[in-house]
């Protein structure tokens, strides 16, 4: 056993640090070489020694996990980051991924998962807890869905109905009566329609409606 994986632990709660240490103690492949309650302490220490992986919490006072990751990735690109957080909120995960983490584990983890994650990352792979992975996939799919339908073109069903009535030369009043809504609501819909179709005049809108085969 020559090269143990050298790890820094960062969490603003000492009891958490103790817990992770307990989880990884006597491990033949992993060695904790530093523990910190503040991100700034990590930056200072990095000037002296360099770990393979930093396990860091995200919610921390002064410098949070995202900021810490950004700094480390920029100045010490060889050092990998594993996020260890309580929550798997989508926004939080994507921000961490953007900052350049190699893995994300939820704190309700056990010895096996944590070890596995560290070993994988060490091999240059990535590891995400099942819950985190599903959030990430969802975000990706949502992103793709939006890319597929160009925003400007999407009229709602109600708006399409209104375009059709406008084409039939209905006044706002008549449209309101036809659809059982108020004239002011029709007016708001109209604004929405013109903005989305990027047209300014009725003629422009009719051309757009024909192109999109609405009428």
């Amino acid at each position: 056993m020559v090269n143990k994986i050298k790890v820094f632990l960062v969490d603003d709660h000492q009891i958490m640090l103790d817990g992770i240490k307990a989880l990884l103690k006597n491990d033949k492949q992993i060695e904790i070489i530093g523990e910190f309650t503040r991100g700034s302490q990590v930056i200072e220490k990095l000037a002296q020694i360099s770990p393979d992986i930093i396990i860091t919490d995200i919610h921390m006072p002064e410098m949070n996990g995202i900021e810490l990751t950004n700094i480390v990735r920029k100045n010490y690109p060889a050092v990998k980051i594993l996020a260890l957080s309580m929550s798997g909120e989508e926004g939080m995960i994507t921000e961490m991924v953007d900052a350049g983490i190699s893995g994300y584990v939820i704190k309700n983890t056990g010895k096996e998962e944590l070890r596995g994650a560290l070993l994988k990352i060490m091999k240059g792979e990535v590891y995400f807890s099942a819950e985190v992975a599903s959030q990430l996939t969802k975000a990706l799919m949502e992103k793709k869905r939006r890319a597929d339908e160009p925003a400007a073109a999407k009229l709602t069903q109600r708006e399409v109905e209104i375009v059709k009535l406008i084409a039939m030369e209905y006044s706002n009043e008549k449209i309101a009566k036809e659809l059982f809504i108020s004239e002011r609501t029709v007016e708001t819909h109209r604004k929405n329609i013109f903005r989305k179709s990027q047209t300014k005049s009725l003629i422009g809108l009719m051309k757009y409606a024909q192109e999109k085969k609405i009428i």
């Binding site: 103790d18 307990a22 983890t109 969802k138 709602t156 604004k191 903005r195």
Partner: protein, 608 residues
């Protein structure tokens, strides 16, 4: 001294009669009826009726008992006039209680009896009452019909006071309808009659009415002239309360004619009297007017001080209303309002014998003037919506917003603090506990209790995250409204009950956190309502940003509802939405009909 003596005497006699009539089982055996004939005579019934006439706006139940007795006795001895009078007063009692159907029945009984007696004055009296009731009820046409009938009857028998009353009542009907010429004609007729019969109280009244009509017609010099004549008469009568209202009308007329200096003097005088009488409404009204005048004269410091005073009184009035006895006060107020109108007619009956004319006149003048005051205040206010007033109004609105902001902001701050503390404090400790326990796991052994403990902690963590999220979604603070709504839609959609869509085009940038948080909370409230009541399958939120105006539009395809129910909605939800809207200076429009989905449109200016 004499007056006092009489009153005691009357009370004594009335008491005697009540004792007699005390048992309300009115099926009297024949043998008793004869006895009653000896004991009860018309004079006693008259006394009962007179007593009821004095009492009827103070104590409904008691009056009703007296009148019931009076009617039974009258029937027993065949005294039709007594029954007619009692029935009419009974009608007034029911009218005051808002039981219009019973009131009509009583009036008609009385009317039939008077007809039988060929007593036209009596009939006119009842028609006057019925006319007033119909006007109060909002049916001006029927009111007009009854009052014309009253007038005709009075003319036939040359009942001058009755004629004057009918004319005044008709004048009020026309004034309500906005037919000022006819109103004026009737008031002037009433005035000429009062002059003829030298009825000073009536004259004071008429001058006041006429002055107000002149003011409506922008004939300010004539208005002030007439109002001042009315005032002079009231001064002679030492009727302080009516004087206060004369001053208010004079102030209004002067203000409308642009003479702020005089107006200010008049309101000042009214205020002095109002303070003497501790009439909060009148004090508050005068402060308000004086403040408006000060604002008009660009004396904003003074305007502000007066506005403060007005606010203090208004506040205390408001608190009074919020009191548990709100219902009681409300009834009392309404009764007084109506009774003051009816008291007009009281005057004619046995005025001198009972020596209460002074009190009645005060009340009746008060009523008439209250009506005129409310109407003229509305009219003049609209006519004089000047820039300075606008500034003052803005200031009032602003103060309200500051108060709201303090409440809502501290609420949101508190939520954020609790959310953060839960998430970063308790949550971290729980996680640490979990990791520590997880470290105890030894794969070589069976340790069911450790796994159970781990599962319990996991469940706690999950619940804690949910609570913290509901308190304040960190995404809203960190990434903004659009991201938070997308996240909300993900949560909603995962339930499979409702498909929520947030259309991103139009607005994805960050705006002031106050606007973001409040719009988010409103969206949250609306979605909750949709889930609870709308039975919808789809909901869409979209935004428009145009000329610094942000519009958030939420449409659902649910069963819709009658928007009128919002006026009486008692829940916190709607109240919270309105408070938040006001706080961000926005407007909300709810477009919904039963069976046709709901569209909620919110407009919020971004520039302040």
């Amino acid at each position: 001294m004499f007056r006092k003596f009489c009153r005691i005497f009357i009370c004594f006699q009335v008491l005697f009669c009540i004792v007699l009539a005390g048992n309300p089982s009115f099926q009297l055996p024949d043998s008793l009826q004869k006895q009653i004939r000896d004991v009860v005579d018309t004079q006693k019934i008259n006394l009962l009726n007179n007593y009821a006439q004095i009492l009827y706006f103070k104590d409904f139940e008691h009056t009703k008992n007296i009148l019931d007795s009076s009617i039974v006795w009258s029937k027993a001895i065949g005294y039709n006039k007594g029954q007619a009078v009692a029935s009419k007063i009974l009608g007034q009692v029911y009218y005051l209680k808002g039981e219009y159907e019973l009131a009509s029945k009583a009036y008609i009984t009385s009317l039939n009896l008077y007809e039988k007696l060929k007593n036209k004055s009596g009939q006119a009296d009842v028609y006057n009452e019925m006319g007033n009731m119909m006007r109060q009820h909002g049916d001006n046409n029927t009111a007009e019909k009854y009052l014309l009938k009253a007038m005709q009857l009075c003319t036939e028998v040359n009942d001058l006071k009755g004629l004057a009353t009918s004319n005044n009542n008709l004048g009020i009907v026309f004034e309500t309808k906005g037919v000022l010429d006819s109103a004026m004609m009737h008031y002037q007729k009433a005035l000429s009659i009062y002059i003829m019969v030298s009825d000073s109280t009536g004259m004071g009244y008429s001058y006041d009415y006429i002055g107000v009509i002149h003011a409506y017609r922008n004939e300010f010099a004539q208005s002030v002239y007439n109002l001042k004549r009315g005032l002079a008469i009231r001064e002679l009568l030492h009727d302080r309360q009516s004087m206060a209202y004369s001053y208010v009308n004079l102030g209004e007329a002067s203000l409308a004619s642009g003479n702020t200096k005089d107006a200010s003097g008049f309101f000042q005088k009214s205020l002095t009297i109002a303070q003497e009488m501790s009439s909060s409404n009148l004090i508050s009204y005068n402060y308000k007017k004086l403040s408006e005048i000060a604002a008009k004269e660009n004396n904003f410091k003074e305007a502000y001080t007066l506005q403060q005073k007005y606010a203090v009184i208004n506040d205390s009035l408001f608190n009074l209303k919020r009191n548990e006895q709100i219902a009681e006060i409300q009834t009392r107020y309404e009764t007084e309002k109506k009774e003051k109108e009816n008291v007009l007619l009281l005057k004619r009956n046995n005025e001198k014998e009972l020596h209460i004319s002074q009190q009645r006149v005060q009340l009746s003048v008060l009523t008439g003037i209250m009506i005129i005051l409310v109407m003229s205040a509305g009219l003049f206010y609209n006519r004089n919506k000047l820039r300075q007033q606008q500034i003052l109004n803005d200031e009032i609105k602003n103060q309200e917003r500051i108060r709201l902001r303090a409440i809502i902001e501290s609420q949101e701050e508190e939520r954020q603090r609790i959310a953060a503390e839960l998430h970063d404090g308790l949550g971290q400790v729980l996680s640490a506990a979990r990791v520590n326990i997880a470290a105890l796991v030894d794969e070589t052994q069976r340790q069911p209790q450790i796994y159970q403990a781990l599962e319990l902690i996991d469940r706690s963590c999950k619940e804690l995250r949910e609570i913290s999220h509901n308190m304040m979604p960190s995404l809203l603070v960190n990434s903004g409204l659009y991201a938070a709504l997308i996240e909300m839609s993900n949560r909603i959609n995962s339930t499979g009950i409702l498909k929520m869509e947030v259309l991103e085009d139009g607005f994805i940038e960050r705006v002031k956190s106050e606007i973001e948080i409040n719009l988010y909370r409103i969206a949250q409230e609306l979605i909750t309502n949709i889930l609870k009541y709308a039975n919808a399958t789809e909901v869409q939120i979209q935004f428009i940003l145009e000329k610094e105006m942000l519009t958030m539009m939420m449409e659902d395809n649910g069963q819709g509802f009658d928007v009128k129910i919002l006026q009486t909605a008692k829940g916190n939800g709607w109240y919270n939405i309105q408070s938040r809207i006001r706080l961000i200076n926005g407007q909300i429009e709810i477009d919904s009909k039963v069976g046709n989905g709901t569209v909620v449109t919110l407009n919020v200016p971004l520039d302040n």
